[in-house]
C-alpha cells in the first residue's frame, strides 16, 4: 500500500517552484511530494472512524502546494509530513456516526467535509463560528488535540485522500453518499460545496447581471450552483468567460445564458448591462463577478467588469497579486473571498431555509450530474502524469482529475468518450 506524502524540504520546494514554471503540476517529479509505503493513520479517539478512500480529487490548491506556489499565509496552517487530498469519497471501515448524529454501518460510502475546526480538535467551548456551524471560518485550525492543518489533507494526524491506507475522519466530517450517486458524483461534492458557498454568499438580487470568470471545476460548479440554488429566486442573467471549447459547452449545459471566450467577456457583459465604456472599464456592468481564476489579471478584469458597488467573489485560491485598486475605491467595489463551507441560508419559494453546504452541494451534483466533470482517474503510482494532466486540464479538454485508490497499480481509466486521454 502506497501513499503520496508531502514533506517539509526547502530544497525540494524550491525545485518544484522552478519546475512549475514549465506547467502547473510539473513540480510533482522534483518537488516535496513522494510516493511512500503507506501507514494507516493512528486512531485518534472515539469520534474518529477509519475511511478507505475510493476516489480523491486533485484540486487547484493541491497543485499550488505541489508546485510550491502556495501563499506563505498557509505555512502555519499545515503540519508536515502530510498526505494531500481533501476531495474524498471513501468507504467507512467501521460502524460510525455522521455529522447529523445518524449511525452509519461499516461499508457505507461517505464523503468527507474536510475542515478541521473546533469539533474534530475537541476544543470546548467552540469558537463563535463553529458555534454557528460556519466551520470554514474557524480560527482554531492549528490548535487543540490535532496537529495544525486547516483541512484533512493538510494535517499530519488525519491522513489524506491520496493514500491507499485510508484516513481518519471525525464524525462531524462524515456525510453518507446519497442513493444513486456514483463515486464520481460523490468526489465532486466537496468542490461543488465551495462553489455553492460562493454562490450563496454573493448577495445576488433579482435581475442582476452576473459573470463567472474561468470555467475549471470551480467555475463550472459555480455556474451549476447559481443555476440550481440562486437563479430560481433572482432570475439573474449569467455570462461565463470560458477559455476552452469543452468548458464552453459544459457551462452552457449548466445554465449559463451566454458563454464566451474570456477575451469577449467584457464585451458580452457590456452589452448585457447596456453599459458605456470609460477608460477601458464599464461604467455600469455586472453586479457580481465570480473570479474562479485568482490571478492579478483576472482580479483586475473582474474589477473592470463591475458596476459601482459591485462585488467580486474570489472562488479559487488566489496568491499574492498586484492590482490597481483605484476603481475599487472610486466605484466602491468589494472583493470578497468564499472559502469552504458550513451552514447556508437559501431562499426557496420566497421562504428562507437553512441547510449544510454539503447537502446543497449534493443537490447541485445530482441536478447537473457533475460526476461527468471527472474526466480521468489515475492510480497513485502515476501521480506525476496525473498532476501534469490536472495542471493542463482545460487545454486537454478535462475538468477534474482524480486518483482512483481502489485501482492503484492498474492502468488509468479513461472515460468512454475518450476525453481526457492522459
Amino acid at each position: 500500500m502506497k501513499s503520496l506524502v508531502l514533506e517539509r524540504n526547502v530544497a525540494r520546494f524550491a525545485a518544484s517552484r522552478v519546475a512549475s514554471l514549465i506547467g502547473s503540476g510539473r513540480g510533482a517529479g522534483v518537488g516535496p511530494l513522494r510516493l511512500l509505503d503507506a501507514t494507516a493513520p493512528e486512531p485518534l479517539g472515539s469520534d474518529w472512524f477509519p475511511v478507505k478512500v475510493l476516489l480523491s480529487g486533485i484540486c487547484g490548491s493541491d497543485l499550488a502546494t505541489v508546485d510550491g506556489r502556495t501563499s506563505r499565509y498557509f505555512e502555519d496552517m499545515v503540519s508536515f509530513p502530510f498526505v494531500p487530498g481533501h476531495e474524498v469519497v471513501g468507504v467507512l471501515e467501521s460502524d460510525g456516526v455522521d455529522a447529523h448524529g445518524q449511525p452509519l454501518v461499516a461499508g457505507t460510502r461517505v464523503v468527507i467535509e474536510p475542515v478541521l475546526g473546533c469539533a474534530p480538535r475537541a476544543i470546548e467551548p467552540r469558537c463563535p463560528h463553529c458555534a454557528e456551524e460556519h466551520q470554514g471560518l474557524c480560527g482554531n485550525i492549528a490548535f487543540g488535540r490535532l496537529a495544525p492543518g486547516l483541512q484533512t489533507g493538510f494535517c499530519t494526524d488525519t491522513g489524506g485522500g491520496w493514500s491507499e491506507a485510508g484516513l481518519m475522519a471525525h464524525r462531524s466530517q462524515l456525510h453518507a453518499v446519497p442513493e444513486g450517486f456514483s463515486d464520481r458524483d460523490a468526489v465532486m461534492v466537496e468542490p461543488t460545496a465551495c462553489a455553492v458557498h460562493a454562490a450563496l454568499s454573493a448577495d445576488i438580487h433579482e435581475g442582476d447581471t452576473v459573470a463567472v470568470l474561468g470555467a475549471g471545476t470551480l467555475g463550472l460548479a459555480t455556474v451549476a450552483a447559481l443555476n440550481t440554488l440562486v437563479r430560481p429566486e433572482t432570475g439573474h442573467s449569467l455570462i461565463v468567460g470560458a477559455k476552452h471549447p469543452a468548458q464552453r459547452q459544459q457551462a452552457a449545459r449548466f445554465g449559463a445564458d451566454m458563454v464566451v471566450p474570456p477575451d469577449q467577456l467584457a464585451r458580452a457583459v457590456r452589452r448585457q448591462s447596456g453599459s458605456l465604456v470609460l477608460g477601458g472599464r464599464l461604467t455600469e456592468g455586472a453586479h457580481v463577478v465570480f473570479d474562479c481564476v485568482g490571478t492579478s489579471e483576472s482580479i483586475a478584469e473582474s474589477l473592470a467588469l463591475l458596476r459601482p458597488r459591485g462585488r467580486v467573489v474570489l472562488v479559487g485560491m488566489p496568491g499574492r497579486v498586484s492590482v490597481d485598486l483605484a476603481p475599487l475605491w472610486h466605484k466602491e467595489l468589494s472583493i470578497t473571498g468564499a472559502y469552504a463551507y458550513g451552514q447556508e441560508t437559501t431562499i426557496r419559494s420566497g421562504a428562507p431555509r437553512s441547510a449544510r453546504t454539503f447537502e446543497l452541494a449534493m443537490e447541485v451534483v445530482a441536478t447537473h450530474h457533475l460526476g461527468e466533470l471527472v474526466t480521468a482517474s489515475y492510480p497513485l503510482e502515476r501521480y506525476e502524469e496525473a498532476l501534469a494532466h490536472a495542471g493542463a486540464a482545460g487545454r486537454r479538454g478535462a475538468t477534474k482529475i482524480v486518483f482512483d485508490l481502489a485501482k492503484s497499480g492498474r492502468n488509468p481509466s479513461i472515460r468512454p468518450d475518450g476525453k481526457g486521454t492522459p
Binding site: 464585451r267 458580452a268 452589452r271 447596456g274 453599459s275 458605456l276 465604456v277
Partner: protein, 529 residues
C-alpha cells in the same frame, strides 16, 4: 470605339481562367466548360462638360418642380443634403460629383442672396464621416466655408431635438426626419446613384430618417418581400419609402432632387485588368496581374487593405437630372440601367462570385464577416431584375478570406453581433425578435454613433436582413478560402478550393449543374429572362 454592352461568355476549352476577387487579393480560376461568365458593359462616355450639364439640369428641372433659381429668394431657409461615404464605390477621384453639384447650387443661392444655408450629410444610421472624407466629398472650398461655422452637420437619427415627426403613412408607418431639413423652405438633395436602389424617395425618407422611422422598412419581412431591392417596382423596401416620400411631400417639405449617374470606370490604370475580359488582357495587364497578385499574397492584410482603400476610382459623371423626385428618379434609373444592365438567358444552379475588399459600409475600413455576407447575399445576389440569377434552392459560391477581423471604431456593434448573436442564431426573423431592440437601444452604441465614427448599434442586423431574401431563396452558401470557423458561424459552408466547392454544390443541386459567374466589380445588373 463606342463602349461595348455587357456580355455573357460561354466558357469553352480555350477560355482562359476567370478572375475571382478574394478580398484584398484575387486569383484566376478555371471554370468548367459550359459555365457562363457575365461581364459588365464597358464604361459609358462621360459628360464632356459636367459643370455645364449640372447648370443645365438645375435650370431645366424635370417633373413638377421649378428651376432652382426660381426657388431661391433672400431670407429663405435652404438645406442641402447629400449622400455619405457609402457612395460611390470606390470613392471617386477628385473632384467628387457632390462637390461639383453643391458648388453650382451654392453659386445660385449666392446669386439669389440666400443667407441661411446648411449642409447635412444624409447618413441615416451609417457612421459619421471624418474631416478628410468630407473634404474629399464636397471639396475644400465648400468645407471651409461651412464646417467652421457649424453649418455642415451630419444627420443624427438619435437626436430627439433634431428630428421632426411628420405623421403616419396610410400603412401606419412613422415618418420622422431631420428637423432642419423638414423646416427648410427648400431641401436640395444631392445624390450619387451608383446602383438602382439609390435615390428616389429613399434619399430623404431613409437618408434623413430616424431609427423609429427606418424600423418600418428595415426589417426581415420587408427584405424578403424585396425581389430585388435593386428593382424599385418589385421592392417592398421602395414601396415603403415611396409611401413615406409622398407623405413628406404632402407635409409641405419642398424637395429639389438632384440625381447623378456614373460610368463604371472603377479602377485606375494599374488595376484596370480587374475590369477587363481575361482573353483581352494585354501583356501589360498580365504583368500587372502577376505583380500585384504576387505582391498582395506577401502583404499583411492590414497593409493590403491600406493599399486598396487608397484607390480612387476614375468614375466620371454620365448624367445629371434635377427636379421633382419621382420624375428625376425615373430618368436616373434608366441611365443606371444603360450602364449596368446585361441581359441573361435563364437562371443557373450555381452562382459564383468573387467578393472584393469593399462594400458600401466599409470604406476606409474592414470588410468584416457580416459585411462579407451582406456584400455577397445582400448586394451581389440582388443585382438582378426579373428573376434571381440563381434558381430557388440553388447554390451561391463566394470567394473571400472571411477572417474575423473588425474595425472597432466603425463597427463596434458588429463585433458583439458576431460574438453574441450569430452564435445563437442566423435566422433574420429570430434575431430581430430576440436581439434587435437591445442593440438598437444600447446606450454605448448610441454614444459611439452620435459622437464617434461608428455605425448605429442596429446596423449589423440590417446587414443581415439584407441577406434575408437570398437566405430564403438559396439551397446553400459556400465560401471558398474563408476562415472555416467564421464561415460556419455565418451559417455557411467552407471550402478550400473552388473545385471542392463545386463538388459540395453538386450534393445540393444535382450532378451536372449549370454555373454562372458574375464578374463584378464593375457593378452590373442582370436582366434575367
Amino acid at each position: 470605339m463606342s463602349p461595348r454592352p455587357g456580355f455573357v461568355l460561354d466558357v469553352d476549352s480555350s477560355t482562359p481562367p476567370t478572375l475571382f476577387w478574394r478580398g484584398e487579393r484575387f486569383s484566376l480560376e478555371k471554370l468548367p466548360e459550359g459555365s457562363r461568365v457575365i461581364y459588365a458593359p464597358e464604361p459609358l462616355e462621360p459628360l464632356k462638360d459636367p459643370v455645364a450639364a449640372i447648370r443645365h439640369a438645375l435650370t431645366h428641372p424635370v417633373g413638377d418642380q421649378k428651376p432652382l433659381p426660381d426657388l431661391l429668394f433672400p431670407g429663405m431657409k435652404l438645406t442641402i443634403a447629400f449622400d455619405d461615404i457609402s457612395l460611390p464605390l470606390p470613392p471617386m477621384e477628385r473632384p467628387d460629383i457632390r462637390q461639383m453639384v453643391i458648388e453650382q447650387v451654392l453659386d445660385m443661392a449666392a446669386t439669389a442672396g440666400v443667407d441661411d444655408v446648411e449642409l447635412i450629410v444624409a447618413l441615416a444610421l451609417h457612421r459619421r464621416m471624418t474631416e478628410p472624407e468630407l473634404r474629399h466629398a464636397i471639396g475644400d472650398r465648400v468645407y471651409d466655408a461651412f464646417a467652421p461655422n457649424g453649418l455642415l452637420t451630419q444627420h443624427d437619427a438619435e437626436d430627439p431635438d433634431a428630428l421632426t415627426h411628420l405623421g403616419l403613412t396610410d400603412q401606419g408607418e412613422d415618418v420622422e426626419i431631420n428637423k432642419r431639413a423638414a423646416e427648410s423652405d427648400l431641401l436640395v438633395y444631392v445624390n450619387i446613384n451608383l446602383v438602382a436602389m439609390d435615390g428616389g424617395h429613399k434619399s430623404v425618407a431613409t437618408g434623413l430618417a430616424s431609427y423609429k422611422s427606418l424600423l418600418h422598412h428595415h426589417n426581415p419581412a420587408t427584405m424578403v418581400a424585396s425581389k430585388s431591392f435593386m428593382d424599385q417596382h418589385r421592392s417592398e423596401l421602395h414601396s415603403a419609402n415611396w409611401r413615406m416620400g409622398r407623405l413628406i411631400k404632402e407635409s409641405g417639405v419642398n424637395i429639389f432632387q438632384i440625381e447623378t449617374t456614373l460610368n463604371n470606370d472603377t479602377f485606375p490604370e494599374a488595376f484596370s485588368f480587374l475590369q477587363k475580359r481575361e482573353w483581352e488582357w494585354k501583356a501589360r495587364d498580365r504583368v500587372n496581374y502577376l505583380a500585384s497578385a504576387a505582391a498582395l499574397n506577401r502583404t499583411p492584410p492590414r497593409v493590403a487593405r491600406g493599399i486598396f482603400h487608397n484607390i480612387k476610382a476614375p468614375h466620371r459623371m454620365t448624367s445629371v437630372q434635377a427636379g421633382e423626385v419621382e420624375a428625376v428618379h425615373k430618368i436616373t434609373t434608366e441611365n443606371v440601367w444603360a450602364q449596368q444592365g446585361v441581359e441573361v438567358e435563364g437562371q443557373t444552379d450555381i452562382l459564383t462570385m468573387g467578393l472584393p475588399y469593399i462594400s458600401p459600409y466599409n470604406v476606409n475600413s474592414i470588410l468584416n464577416p457580416i459585411l462579407v455576407a451582406c456584400l455577397g447575399l445582400g448586394y451581389f445576389f440582388n443585382l438582378y431584375r426579373g428573376k434571381p440569377l440563381v434558381r430557388e434552392g440553388g447554390v451561391l459560391i463566394m470567394t473571400h478570406p472571411t477572417t474575423p477581423d473588425f474595425n472597432p471604431v466603425h463597427h463596434p456593434s458588429y463585433i458583439d453581433f458576431f460574438e453574441q448573436v450569430l452564435t445563437e442564431t442566423t435566422d433574420p426573423v429570430v434575431m430581430s425578435e430576440q436581439f434587435e431592440e437591445a442593440f438598437a437601444t444600447d446606450p454605448w452604441y448610441r454614444h459611439l454613433y452620435r459622437t464617434g465614427h461608428a455605425y448605429h448599434g442596429v446596423h449589423p442586423f440590417y446587414m443581415w436582413y439584407w441577406c434575408a431574401h437570398a437566405l430564403n431563396h438559396l439551397g446553400a452558401v459556400i465560401i471558398v478560402g474563408g476562415d472555416a470557423k467564421t464561415v460556419h458561424r455565418l451559417g455557411f459552408r467552407s471550402a478550400t478550393t473552388l473545385t471542392d466547392a463545386l463538388e459540395m454544390a453538386r450534393d445540393v443541386v444535382g450532378p451536372s449543374p449549370s454555373l454562372t459567374h458574375i464578374h463584378t466589380p464593375p457593378i452590373l445588373m442582370a436582366d434575367v429572362k
